[in-house]
Structure formats: structure tokens, C-alpha cells
């Protein structure tokens, strides 16, 4: 039967033969659990008993849960602070690093190092930096000058930025590398033409470099937005005693999902939160793609 196929058809058969494995893998590992999570969000389940139908109960509960709204807000603060800050920082570093020849490789390695470090180890080291005297690095320095200590993690206002800082730092290396690749990919002839015309550096930056980096920026914004919307390990490890605390000041949505599912064993409610997160991620990504791709 295979023999009777045209070359084109044979190619298709082979293509599908090779695609079958990833398709199967994705169906079992991705699509099935996703579908199942959506299903569970309409049910009550404590992992032990049977699942019972709950209708929209879990979503109603979510809507009326003040913790959810607090967490929702936190998640967007992570996104709205984290993405622009890391974008600007990484571009500035990449832009200047690109011009630098002296110890270029070494510096690039230094910037990339945090990205390779385990988030858990990093979060714990920062957690100790932030402690009060007598063990916290920052506060010990302050105390050395006789300045009263600052509550970093034990504060409803300072805790979120304190947790966000190492998360931004950790992701920086990767973004720097991507930006540098983007900058290198810009044909030098444009810069030469600008030089001949006698254009200043600022015009070069805003008229040549940034516009031609658009695909790179799209990629980094989408990538880091998804990362900040899903922030978990830094927060969890820096606040393990009181996850997402104090008073839910640092709690992101993923941590709430984890807590509901594996401490509260309320799988239906956790699944409903997951569906909401999924929807947010989808919408944010679509908006960003559209905004940054048009024109």
C-alpha cells in the first residue's frame, strides 16, 4: 500500500511518523492534564474521596475571596515592575557590553552566572541578606553606622520589591545574551550609513538599534511576562515560614494555587485558580504579541 503512494504522500506519511511521538507526548503530558484541570475546576475533590460536581461554586468562591484579589494584584505588580525593569536593565547592559572589548567574555559570564544558579539557593542567600541584625548582611551594615534596621521581608510594603529584586537579577543574564545576539544581528551597513550622514548616537539608538530589535524585544517581553506571572520559587523560598507573607503581601497566584492544592487539599478550588491563571497568561501573551508585532 505504501508503495502506491506518490512521493508527496510518502513525505507526509514520514512527516507524521516523526511527528507522532511529540504529538503523543504533548497529548498525554500537556493537553490531557490541562483538560482535566479545567474539568476539576467544576468539581470538589480532596485527593482522597470521589469527585463531586460543584458547578460554578469554585469560581464564585474565588470571586468573593479577598485573598484572591490581593494575590491577583500582587501577580500584576510582579509583572508590571519586573518586566520593564528587567527589560531596561538588560538592554542597557547588553548595549554597553556590546561596545566593550576589554574582558568582554568574562563580564558576559558574570552576568549570565545568576541565570545558571539554582533559584532555590539564590533565594535562600538573599533571604539571609535581608534578615534583621545580628545575621542580616544589609542590616548589619546599617547597624554598623548606627542606623536603625530596615524591615525588608517583615513588612507589608517592602517585602514584594525585596523578593522581586533577586528574581529580576536572576533573569537578567538570559535577557542580556538575547539582546546581544539581537544587536549583533543588525547589519553594520546601517551604522556605517548613519556615520557617513553624521548622525548622533541617540538618533542611531532610537532610529536604528531599537526598531531593528523589535523581534528581540517581543520575545523578551513575552518570555519575561510569562515568567513574572508564574513567579513562585523565589517567593516560596524567601518566605517558607509564612509562604507569601507577611499578610499575603508577596503571595503570587501560583503560590496560592500550591497552597490550596497541597496544604488545603481543595483540588477543585485550586484548579479554578489554575484556569484563571491560564486565561490571564493567554490574554497577556496575545495582547503583547499583537501590540508589538503590528506596524
Amino acid at each position: 500500500m505504501y508503495r502506491n503512494l506518490t512521493i508527496r504522500q510518502k513525505q507526509i506519511v514520514w512527516a507524521w511518523a516523526f511527528l507522532a511521538l511529540p504529538v503523543l507526548f504533548y497529548s498525554v503530558i500537556r493537553f490531557y492534564p490541562t483538560g482535566n484541570a479545567i474539568l476539576i475546576s467544576f468539581q470538589n475533590w480532596n485527593l482522597l474521596g470521589s469527585r463531586t460536581w460543584a458547578g460554578l461554586e469554585n469560581y464564585e468562591k474565588l470571586w468573593n475571596d479577598p485573598v484572591f484579589w490581593k494575590v491577583f494584584k500582587n501577580t500584576f505588580i510582579y509583572l508590571l515592575l519586573g518586566t520593564p525593569i528587567s527589560l531596561v536593565l538588560s538592554f542597557m547592559i547588553a548595549y554597553h557590553l556590546d561596545k566593550l572589548r576589554f574582558m568582554h567574555g568574562f563580564l558576559r559570564m558574570l552576568y549570565f552566572l545568576p541565570f545558571m544558579t539554582s533559584a532555590v539557593a539564590m533565594a535562600w542567600v538573599w533571604r539571609w541578606f535581608y534578615q534583621d541584625v545580628p545575621i542580616g548582611l544589609f542590616n548589619n551594615i546599617l547597624a554598623g553606622f548606627g542606623i536603625p534596621q530596615i524591615a525588608f521581608l517583615q513588612s507589608t510594603t517592602n517585602a514584594l520589591p525585596a523578593v522581586l529584586a533577586p528574581a529580576v537579577w536572576a533573569g537578567l543574564g538570559f535577557q542580556v545574551i538575547i539582546f546581544m545576539a539581537g544587536i549583533r544581528a543588525i547589519p553594520t551597513s546601517y551604522y556605517e550609513a548613519a556615520k557617513i550622514d553624521g548622525v548622533g548616537w541617540f538618533t542611531v539608538l532610537t532610529q536604528i538599534t531599537i526598531p531593528l530589535l523589535r523581534p528581540t524585544i517581543v520575545f523578551i517581553v513575552v518570555f519575561s511576562s510569562i515568567g513574572f506571572l508564574r513567579i513562585f520559587d523565589h517567593v516560596f523560598n524567601m518566605t517558607t515560614n509564612n509562604p507569601g507573607g507577611p499578610l499575603n503581601a508577596t503571595k503570587p497566584l501560583v503560590l496560592m494555587i500550591y497552597d490550596t492544592a497541597f496544604n488545603g487539599f481543595d483540588m477543585g478550588y485550586a484548579a479554578a485558580q489554575t484556569v484563571v491563571l491560564f486565561t490571564i497568561l493567554l490574554i497577556v501573551s496575545l495582547i503583547q504579541l499583537r501590540l508589538l508585532r503590528s506596524t
Binding site: N44, N46, L47, D259, N263, F265
Partner: protein, 430 residues
């Protein structure tokens, strides 16, 4: 569930005994015919000392019952619940299973476990023989599950700091405790606390101390209606919370919440005069070089009343066990809740015996380290949690509102009480 399950290890004696018995069993196994042997499965979560202790118990049990073999399986704590839930309905998995007492309700409702037979485990006899808080496992005339060992709280103190502050001995009452804490607190030139008199933080064990200790010592009862109704939003609760808040808000404060990240870390580092913690902390403190510590019962109130909190893991027979496996499981349950098993558990794991007949022996009750915990069991209560971490979180937030937002204790208490009642109502409505 309890986040701190570190246990002491006092193994030497029982290890030798275990080795000897292991020899006996292997020879016994040669003679018993395998065809008649009933094999039952026992599941618990993985913790070194617990697995060691259970191996000793299984060896002893098999020696006494050559026709039964027990196969132990253990899992990382994180996977435990899902595995049990998946296995039993499928007719696989354990015949006897270990679970946290706070999960009992869920296991009963999911029909994963069956009541213990009244013949072997008469409720009246268990009521009389076990420490009273075990009655949380009773439903009508039947017990659903029984512990081998239990845990309770006590006051750890740093002997060196106590001496340095010129104090004769550990405090006996809450008032003495506050005086001692004040004497042991140190601050630097910038006004920062560098050594706390006593550790504080609801994230560790203090929420248990507050509920079952302070509230009761102030004449209250934290919950009514079998722990389904919150009952601390009253004078007793307010007095208890004000006492607690006074530790870190008093003038001068004797503690600082979040000091050195974790209460037990501060105590371990020798930067805290006193620290309330569970018997499971003994092991990790025993290994700490340069730390001279002692332990005493939780302080009494002015009238001399003490109150403590106890928690435990229980063993139960699953619904999977039927016929001869059921009979074997009953025998095994009877053995692992016997006096002998409890002594093994104390020696190997460092967890306290669940029966006064073992706990209150001359040697155990007066033991320098275990004694205060064991004596505490006599006046201990066990909170029936619907969701321990959720309910702890509400206590954490109750204190944070006072500490970080300057809310009045009474107001914060009322918010916590409402939130916890809502959590309980939701749980019991299902």
C-alpha cells in the same frame, strides 16, 4: 500538618535488641512454611528513625507470629497522600497505614480505613489506658485509629544565658517566664534586638501554645462543638492574645518576630534565652555543639494551671484488608500499639509513648529530656484541625496585623475568629 518532624535518636540499646531479634526471625522464617504465611503491607512516610523503629517492630512481630509477614513500604512525605488515595480503592497498597491525626476525617469519609474491631480494641479500655487526647480518634463506641507515639510541647531554655542573667533556674509560671525573658534580652546601640529573651512566631509551634495553652490558661476553651466552633473571641482569647502581643510589643519587648529567620534557629545559635517547641526538636538540638540547653514543662498560670498541645501520627486498618489479611492486620495493630512497641519508638525515634503505663514509668517521666514532654501529656489537648496549615496561617496573620499594621489585639482576634469559623464551616459542610 506539622512542619517540624525532626526526631531525636536514641538508638544504641534498641538497635542491639533489634539485631538480636533480626537473627531470631531469619531463623524463624526458615522453619515457617511460606505457603501458610499471610503477607500484609504497612505504609508510612519516609523518615529515617521511623523506618528503623518500624523495622525493629516488624522483626519482633514476625518472631512472635511466624505465620504472618509484614512488608513495609515508605514514601517521601510529599507523595504520601496521593499514593494512598490511588492505591487503596484499586485494591492495592497497605493493609495497615500510618496517617496524621488531622487527616482522619478525610480518610474516613473517603472510605479508606475501617474502624478497629471492638473485640480487640474495646473503647472503654482504650479510654482508660491511653492519654486522654487520643480520644480524638474515637467515633461513638469505636476507635478508628491509634497512635504508637505522640508529641507535646515544652519550654527549652539556654542554661548559659540563664546563668549569665543571674537566674536560678527555668521559670515555672508565665510571670516568671516574662521576667526571665526580660533579663535575657539584649539590644545594640542602634536599638536593635541582638538576643531575644524568648522566641516568638506563630509560624512555628506558638500557634499551638496559644490555642491549647494560653487560651485555656486564661480560663477559655479555644473551640467548642468538637472543634467545629471557634470559641476564643472572648475575654479569655483577648487576654491570651494580649499576653502574647506583649512579648514583642511590651516596653521593652522581650522578643522580636522573625528574629534570625526562624525561632528554632535563634535558639540553636544561642541567641535566644527560651524557646517553646515540640519533642521532635530534641534530636536536632542534641547534635548542636556548644549549646547547653535544658527543657522544662510549659509555664503555669498564676493559679498553677498548665495546659499543653499534643499531636500524633496514627495507624489504622484500611478497607482493603479482608479475611485472613484483616485478622493479621488486627494482630499487627495490637502489637504496634502495645507497651513494648511504645518503648521501642521512644528509644529509637524519640517520640513519646501514647500510654501513661509506658510514659509515666519512673525512668521515662523523670527523664531529664523527655520527662517534661511526657508529664505535659497529662494535661494536653489535641486540636482537631480541618486544615492545619490554613488554620495556622490565620493565627500568623492575626499577629501580623498587630505587629505590622498596629491593629488592636481585640480587633485582630475578631477577624481571625471569623475567618477560622468560615474555614471550619466550609470544611464540615462538604
Amino acid at each position: 500538618m506539622n512542619r517540624y518532624f525532626h526526631h531525636g535518636r536514641r538508638k544504641m540499646k534498641s538497635h542491639l535488641k533489634g539485631l538480636f531479634l533480626a537473627g531470631l526471625t531469619s531463623s524463624a522464617a526458615l522453619f515457617s512454611s511460606a505457603a501458610n504465611a499471610v503477607e500484609i503491607e504497612y505504609w508510612q512516610y519516609f523518615f529515617d528513625a521511623r523506618v528503623d523503629a518500624m523495622e525493629t517492630l516488624i522483626t519482633n512481630f514476625e518472631a512472635a507470629n511466624p505465620d504472618i509477614t509484614v512488608k513495609m513500604t515508605h514514601f517521601p512525605y510529599a507523595d504520601y497522600r496521593t499514593k494512598v488515595a490511588a492505591a487503596i480503592p484499586a485494591g492495592e497498597g497497605p493493609d495497615v497505614v500510618q496517617l496524621f491525626y488531622g487527616w482522619l476525617n478525610d480518610y474516613v469519609q473517603a472510605e479508606l480505613i475501617q474502624p478497629l474491631p471492638a473485640g480487640t480494641f474495646p473503647a472503654a479500655q482504650i479510654d482508660a489506658e491511653f492519654f486522654p487526647m487520643v480520644q480524638a480518634m474515637k467515633d461513638g463506641d469505636a476507635y478508628w485509629a491509634l497512635p504508637t507515639a505522640v508529641r507535646s510541647l515544652a519550654l527549652f531554655y539556654n542554661e548559659r544565658l540563664l546563668e549569665e542573667a543571674g537566674l536560678d533556674g527555668p521559670p515555672e509560671t508565665l510571670e516568671e517566664m516574662m521576667t526571665a525573658a526580660a533579663a535575657m534580652t539584649k539590644t545594640d546601640a542602634a536599638g536593635n534586638i541582638t538576643q531575644v529573651g524568648i522566641t516568638a512566631g506563630m509560624t512555628a509551634q506558638d500557634h499551638h501554645w496559644w490555642r491549647e495553652g494560653l487560651v485555656r490558661q486564661n480560663g477559655g476553651e479555644p473551640y467548642t462543638d468538637d472543634y467545629k466552633t471557634v470559641n476564643y473571641n472572648n475575654d479569655a482569647g483577648r487576654a491570651a492574645l494580649e499576653f502574647y502581643a506583649n512579648m514583642f510589643l511590651g516596653d521593652p519587648p522581650v522578643t522580636s518576630i522573625g528574629f534570625m529567620d526562624e525561632p528554632q534557629a535563634a535558639f540553636k545559635a544561642g541567641r535566644a534565652g527560651m524557646h517553646i517547641d515540640g519533642s521532635f526538636r530534641i534530636g536536632s538540638l542534641a547534635d548542636q555543639r556548644g549549646l547547653k540547653w535544658g527543657v522544662t514543662e510549659l509555664p503555669a498560670n498564676a493559679e498553677g494551671t498548665r495546659s499543653n498541645y499534643s499531636s500524633y501520627w496514627v495507624n489504622a486498618i484500611t478497607t482493603k484488608a479482608e479475611g485472613e489479611k484483616y485478622d493479621a492486620a488486627v494482630k499487627f495493630m495490637a502489637y504496634i500499639t502495645s507497651d513494648e512497641a511504645m518503648q521501642v519508638w521512644l528509644d529509637v525515634v524519640g517520640e513519646l509513648p501514647a500510654k501513661p503505663s509506658v510514659g509515666m514509668t519512673e525512668a521515662n517521666a523523670n527523664d531529664k529530656t523527655f520527662g517534661p514532654f511526657i508529664r505535659g501529656l497529662e494535661y494536653a489537648n489535641t486540636t482537631k484541625f480541618a486544615n492545619e496549615s490554613g488554620q495556622r496561617q490565620l493565627m500568623v496573620e492575626m499577629v501580623e496585623r498587630i505587629q505590622l499594621e498596629g491593629m488592636a489585639p481585640a480587633e485582630s482576634l475578631a477577624i481571625a475568629a471569623d475567618a477560622e469559623q468560615k474555614l471550619l464551616d466550609e470544611y464540615y459542610a462538604k
